[in-house]
């Protein structure tokens, strides 16, 4: 076990998969000579050369679509979006083509493509660069989407995503790139569709994904230390496929659920989780399911206000106390 950054963990995953499979090719804006806008691909060009690590023009619809087309022939492109917000100019390629071609061909085609990059608010870059589209992607059968919160999960999920034969969209977080975490040695993979209990607890389940897991863990510390409430933190890790069982097991144990994520509330991931809980664990609930999401407006620029807009430990604690009374 080593302690490395979330960024380094992804870099290792990419390097190891480039090494393992000659069909893997890294493509995106500034991924090669510039070493990555966020340095996630640092050193890969030097190590693997310009056939395997390819700079593209600023042309998301073009190069993502090109990756989808190449993947139909068996190439395994790992495409970097400098921001997931830029996916919106490539949505036709990502949804209509990557997401639907298998179905429309009656299963004759599959697209082993990965699209990865940061999808988060909290960096004061305004609404156009702060989107969290995991709920949009999860709404498209045919696509898979994962949101790692820790270095170990970032590496393990990335490796599984690259080996998967369906399109997998990996949503990272610029605020996590520098976070340190323990990562198992060797060929560390984390399967898609498996959640993880990041902290055990008995009084309430905090169900989160992405950076909101860190927020929930901070809240759980305070709840235990100052309020005598033992919160369990469930990290979904993978949104689609989804590990419903781990969520339900936790709720059946704690009888309370507060859902925490940085999606907007309307039809966000938490909406689906809430539905699942009320359909399958209704009799176990001692309180209404509550949610803590980004406040329901475009991402604001003003730094102190953006902090308020995103889920914070304080907002989580407030909701937990309300359901635990």
């Amino acid at each position: 076990m080593r302690t490395i950054t979330y960024r380094q963990a992804i870099n290792e995953a990419l390097a190891e998969e480039l090494e393992r499979d000659p069909n893997v090719v890294i493509m995106g804006e500034e991924v090669a000579e510039y070493n990555g806008a966020y340095k996630v691909t640092e050193g890969l060009l030097d190590r693997f050369g310009d056939k395997r690590v390819v700079d593209t023009p600023i042309s998301e619809a073009g190069f993502i679509g090109m990756g989808v087309g190449a993947s139909m022939l068996g190439v395994r492109p790992v495409m970097e979006l400098m921001f997931w917000s830029f996916a919106y100019v490539a949505f036709d390629q990502m949804i209509n083509n990557a997401g639907c071609v298998r179905y429309m061909s009656g299963g004759l085609i599959h697209c082993p493509i990965v699209v990865r990059g940061p999808a988060n608010g909290g960096t004061n870059v305004g609404a156009t660069h702060s989107h969290t589209p995991e709920n949009f992607i999860a709404n498209t059968p045919g696509l898979k989407v994962v949101c790692p919160a820790t270095a170990a999960d970032a590496k393990g999920l990335m490796k599984s995503a690259i080996r998967d034969n369906d399109p997998v969209y990996v949503m990272e977080n610029t605020l996590l790139y520098g976070e340190m975490g323990e990562v198992p040695d060797g060929d560390h993979t984390v399967p898609l569709g498996v959640a993880e209990v990041k902290r055990e607890g008995s009084d309430v389940s905090l169900i989160a994904h992405g950076r909101a897991v860190i927020t929930a863990l901070k809240a759980a510390d305070v709840l235990a230390g100052e309020h005598g409430i033992q919160a369990e933190v469930v990290d979904l890790r993978s949104i689609r496929p989804l590990d419903e069982e781990t969520v339900l097991r936790s709720v059946r144990k704690t009888n309370r659920a507060v859902l925490v994520d940085e999606n907007k509330p309307f039809c966000g991931v938490s909406s689906q989780i809430a539905t699942t809980i009320q359909e399958k664990a209704f009799d176990h609930l001692d309180a209404p399911i509550m949610r803590v999401n980004s406040l329901d407006a475009p991402a604001i620029y003003s730094p102190p206000l953006e902090e308020i807009q995103l889920p914070s430990p304080e907002r989580v604690i407030e909701k937990v106390i309300a359901v635990c009374q």
Binding site: V25, K51, T56, P57, S59, A61, G62, F63, I64, G65, M66, G67, V68, G69, A70, S71, M72, L73, G74, V75, D92, Q93, N96, N97, V101, R102, Y103, M104, S105, G106, G107, L108, I109, H110, P112, P141, G142, K144, S160, D164, N165, D166, P191, L192, G193, V194, S238, R240, P241, L242, D243, E244, Q272
Partner: protein, 354 residues
């Protein structure tokens, strides 16, 4: 026909024997008869959705795809029946797809706009205007990445050239030296909007390729020899130089944008349509050319046409008699890993119906 150059004498056309030439006629007749049969059944309410007919444009798919080699790939938009038959897909599977039957080429999941046959290097069949053009660049990228000498013929309509995806594809194709040939099938109308009302251009639509340093050419689509000769130049450029080409092939569609195009006879005059049918029909012109060359007679032409018609009728019967997919098919062919029952496919919940 372009009288200045005799495209029949191009080496690629000199290679054609009498049977090959009649074979090209047969392919065009098959496409026309298939589509006439499908139109008749559509009008009787046998199928849903849209039906974008290719009638009038047959020489484009047949001429270009007649040059397809082992590593040449094909991708097109939603007016895709002609290309499908030209690559060798069966009328039965194509007709059954229109009916939404399980015997359809996509098991009834794609419909008219979404035919696929990867085993014949045919990658669709795509519904969004110009959405297939980055995929075409990607197929070419894949060939190049894998070190295979091949090409991708990526078809689009004249209405597609104003989409950003097409321009992004041109830039990538030139930048990365991709062996892709963008074939603009210019039938003059972007749905109901004429070329003049939809596209800004100097001499022609293909000329935009100049801005990307891509070779381009204009082609008279009613002359099969010209279509083949100029496409062959592009294919050789792809194979030998790994460079893209844009071809603009002038053609015409007899029917509306789709059969559901209520204004199909309003945005162009009946005289215009009749004039094309009478003087420029690619099937008739090719037939007459072969008669003039002495490799075909009327009786043979009639029997080729009858065979095509009978084949289409049989395809209708096949589609009629085929079953619809079982309801469980709705949830199949969504995820590879689930369909193949791999460990990844069994891990986590993939569908959320209950």
């Amino acid at each position: 026909m372009n009288s200045a150059i005799d495209h029949a004498s191009a080496p690629i056309n000199q290679k054609l024997g009498p049977d090959d030439k009649v074979g090209l006629l047969r392919q065009m007749m098959r496409i026309r008869r298939f589509e006439q049969a499908s139109l008749k059944q559509y009008q009787q309410g046998k199928m849903g959705g849209f039906l974008h007919l290719y009638i009038g444009q047959e020489s484009v798919a047949v001429g270009t795809i007649s040059l397809q080699g082992e590593n040449d790939h094909i991708i097109t938009a939603y007016r895709d029946h002609g290309h499908a038959l030209a690559v060798g897909m069966s009328m039965n599977a194509c007709m059954a797809e229109l009916y939404g039957k399980v015997t359809g080429c996509s098991k009834g999941k794609g419909g008219s706009m979404h035919y696929f046959a990867p085993d014949r290097n045919y990658w669709g069949g795509h519904g969004i205007v110009a959405g297939q053009t980055p995929l075409g660049a990607g197929l070419a990228y894949g060939l190049k990445y894998q070190g295979i000498k091949g090409s991708c013929l990526c078809y689009l309509g004249d209405g597609a050239i104003n989409q950003g995806a097409y321009h992004e594809s041109l830039n990538l194709a030139a930048l990365f030296d991709l062996p892709v040939i963008f074939v603009i099938e210019n039938n003059g109308y972007s749905m109901g909007t004429s070329q003049k009302r939809s596209s800004a251009f100097k001499s022609c639509l293909a000329e935009r390729a100049d801005g990307y340093n891509i070779e381009w050419d204009r082609v008279d689509g009613e002359d099969l020899y010209e279509v083949r000769a100029k496409t062959q130049v592009a294919i050789e450029r792809a194979h030998e130089e790994s460079r893209p080409t844009v071809l603009e092939i002038a053609t015409y569609r007899y029917y509306g944008h789709s059969v559901a195009d209520a204004n199909s006879k309003k945005y162009r005059s009946p005289e215009e349509i009749e004039h094309y049918k009478t003087h420029h029909d690619p099937v008739n012109l090719w037939k007459q050319r072969l008669i003039d060359e002495g490799v075909l007679d009327e009786a043979t032409a009639k029997s080729v046409d009858k065979e095509a018609k009978d084949e289409a009728s049989a395809a209708v019967r096949f589609a009629e008699e085929s079953a619809f997919p079982e309801p469980r098919a709705i949830l199949e062919d969504v995820y590879y890993e689930v369909d193949e029952a791999t460990e990844a496919g069994r891990t986590g919940k993939h569908f959320f119906n209950d």
